[in-house]
Symmetry: C2
Subunit: 438 residues, 2 copies
């Protein structure tokens, strides 16, 4: 008797990225109800299944989808609006422009267009941090992406609240808007902007709320050298020590950037079981800094990889970001053997999953895991010859090599077409929103 399943992806080299680093030369992945029910050499397993749909990848690469640990997807509306500036000047340009267009419409359409960019380059999961985050969640649901939607918290007036005192009401409403649903692939979290914009009281309250709801707390932390100086001046201690003292750190805490942390701060983060997401592209473009990724990993801190928002990076393509992560670590440490291609891939896959608390669901391909799968084209000139898949994926492959993107068992992208939504329509809407700034 054969088992009825939803989808089989077959006839490719399967890189599982599981603990055993299993590979199947002519492999297949069997999918039912959004999960992987079998995986292996197709001659060994396919006789047991009858599938509604079959994708024959004809020798291409089958691997887990990439995980974007940090972005502000809606900021695609501001992409390229101001560049080649330091963080403080950049904020001076961006914040008034942002305040002019930020709202439910901008967040929905900006996020949807970013989802298109991410899906096309093989991202299956995204951690988004912004305001009007219920509209970002609406866009991600529409797009078919797996998403952690972290509602922004800052002690300023924003288009979402005139009076910062009201913000926790807005935030509690946001959290209530997510029905309890274990199968949902779009889930809430909190994002406190940064220690230089948000008080210890707000941080502490966000931490309490996150603990109560069992959700993750993200924050920009130790992004620039200047931030360290400012926070030290204001609170008498460096950013990580400051949040430790204020009782903010926990195992559900993820520090974004973490470019400027000393060895003791790395130990502190590790002791709390906290994690880190680094954004090499935005760190370099703003000359903010390069995070000590090798030290994080040595200390046992899970490190994820983020594109950061498209107004600062300006790409949401983890193939660019993996390459940059490797190259920046090598040039800064003056050691080309640092952070080998395999480790770079881990930050965008299973280690990246751990950094956002989703390691039981995503980041590798094995039975019981979510069916978040991409197919990478191996017929292009830059894949010839192919000595080493790890090197190929980090140093040669491009986001455009992704031919198929499957999220939670659903084919959201195949051979140039995004299925869940009208991509050209979303792009046209975003142009309209951008035009408000001209």
């Amino acid at each position: 008797m054969t088992e009825k399943v939803d989808l089989i992806v077959k006839s490719g080299t399967v890189l599982t990225f599981d603990e055993e680093e299993s590979r199947f030369a002519n492999g297949a992945v069997v999918i039912k109800d959004g999960k992987i029910v079998d995986i292996g050499e197709q001659l060994d397993i396919l006789q047991d299944y009858e599938a509604k749909d079959v994708i024959d990848v004809d020798g291409d690469l089958i691997m887990p989808g990439l995980i974007n640990g940090h972005t502000h997807a809606a900021m695609s509306a501001l992409r390229g609006y101001s560049d080649d500036l330091p963080l403080d000047k950049w904020l001076e340009y961006i914040i008034p422009a942002e305040n002019k267009i930020m709202g439910k419409e901008m967040v929905y359409w900006g996020t949807l267009v970013s989802a298109a960019e991410m899906i096309r380059s093989g991202i299956t999961t995204v951690c988004d941090s912004y305001f009007f985050e219920e509209d970002a969640a609406r866009a991600f649901k529409k797009s078919g992406m797996r998403a952690i939607c972290a509602q922004g918290i800052v002690d300023f007036p924003t288009p979402q609240w005139e009076d910062p005192k009201e913000k926790f009401e807005v935030i509690e409403q946001f959290l209530e808007s997510f029905p309890k649903d274990e199968d949902s692939i779009v889930n809430p979290a909190l994002f406190v902007h940064a220690p230089y914009t948000t008080s210890p009281e707000s941080y502490y309250r966000a931490r309490e709320l996150a603990s109560k709801c069992g959700i993750r707390l993200f924050t920009h932390l130790a992004e620039t050298e200047n931030e360290v100086v400012e926070i030290k001046k204001k609170y008498g201690r460096t950013p990580v020590r400051h949040l430790e003292k204020e009782g903010v750190l926990s195992e559900n805490f993820t520090a974004i950037h973490a470019n400027w942390v000393d060895d003791e701060e790395i130990e502190i983060l590790s002791n709390y079981g906290s994690s880190v997401v680094v954004c090499p592209g935005s760190g370099a473009k703003l000359a903010a800094g390069v995070a000590p990724v090798t030290s994080f990993i040595k200390t046992g801190i899970p490190v994820g990889l983020g594109t950061d928002g498209p107004a600062s990076n300006n790409r949401q393509d983890l193939f660019y970001e993996m390459d940059l992560l490797a190259k920046l670590q090598k040039i800064i440490s003056k050691d080309p053997t640092t952070l080998k291609a395999k480790t770079v891939l881990a930050t965008a896959l299973f280690m990246g999953a751990e950094a956002i608390g989703l390691e039981d669901k995503i980041g590798c391909l094995k039975k019981g895991m979510a069916a978040d799968i991409i197919v990478v084209d191996l017929t292009r000139p830059h894949a010839a010859p192919l000595f080493d898949y790890m090197s190929h994926l980090v140093y040669s492959a491009r986001g455009f090599d992704v031919k198929t993107n499957i999220i939670n068992g659903r084919v959201v992208y195949h051979w140039g077409k995004i299925y869940p939504f009208d991509e050209p329509g979303a792009i046209a809407k975003l142009f309209e929103i951008g035009n408000q700034l001209l």
Copy 2:
């Protein structure tokens, strides 16, 4: 009366990159005998011409093709063969492998596959430096690319000559194999490997030969800190000073890499009218260094941008390289305002042309210049909205956005298809050659 022409590219935003930075919102480029005969708003000019072929780009971007100032195209045969190693260790792995497969076949097919990679990502001109360079020239002629083919010179035995004493015979034959043809788009040059592999005598003889033939002399120079130490120990002076003393510098001299040069050496290069080509990707991946690009430009030295060979970078895509150039300059100088997007584009366009002595032919679009033109897709999600073309091209666009590549008036690539040669056939050949290493 209308003039008969070969090709019109129309209905797009034309960025000319000429001295006036002219742009045409609904522009056209008129092409005859490989040259641009007219350019402007299409309503103003098209009534004067009748074309054999017309490409309507439907609102996309029309701009000059990109110039790859340095690669070893044939080394695609070794792409990904050894990574995450320092330059000296990397050479230990690469050289025996290279000696095993290097020859006319490897150079021809490796170069042809690299040409496919470059054409697809909008490169129209390449400076190639390798051995068996007549076979590289044969491949570039086949590919339709504009190329400067620099024959390698090194004081070691190579698969091209058993006894290094024979090398100048081989090189003179190479130079004679290029018939005098002003219209040829594939032309010769010389490439001396590096001061740590080649004697002052060979450098001087190469320089004499280059002067006699009116061709350019390229060399790897001051790539690593270690090279500076070694050359100083051996010759009593740093690499640029060493070549100056040996009479090698001239206005036809291009230093590749130039990561480790002091201010006085920059002055020396400038005084001789020499130029520089930097390779940020390979410099970072091998942790070799970051060139002082801003100082070069301030001193008036034309700076070109190179991908370096695919065994060390491993991509030959200048969209990656432009992004990296900007980001590495910013993070190393700790100044995000350094090397703005517009200047980055100059290194891949008109300034890059100057760095290789082709500024009268390529690097911008205007009447009389060669018709080396690319069309960049503006319909993808990462082009929405679009506030600034310079920012878009450096920080958002990807090589794959190139939809059409026209070299010397010939359409070599259009909508996914390379016309001058059998791309899948070349890829299959390169796999066969790579298999010799397994």
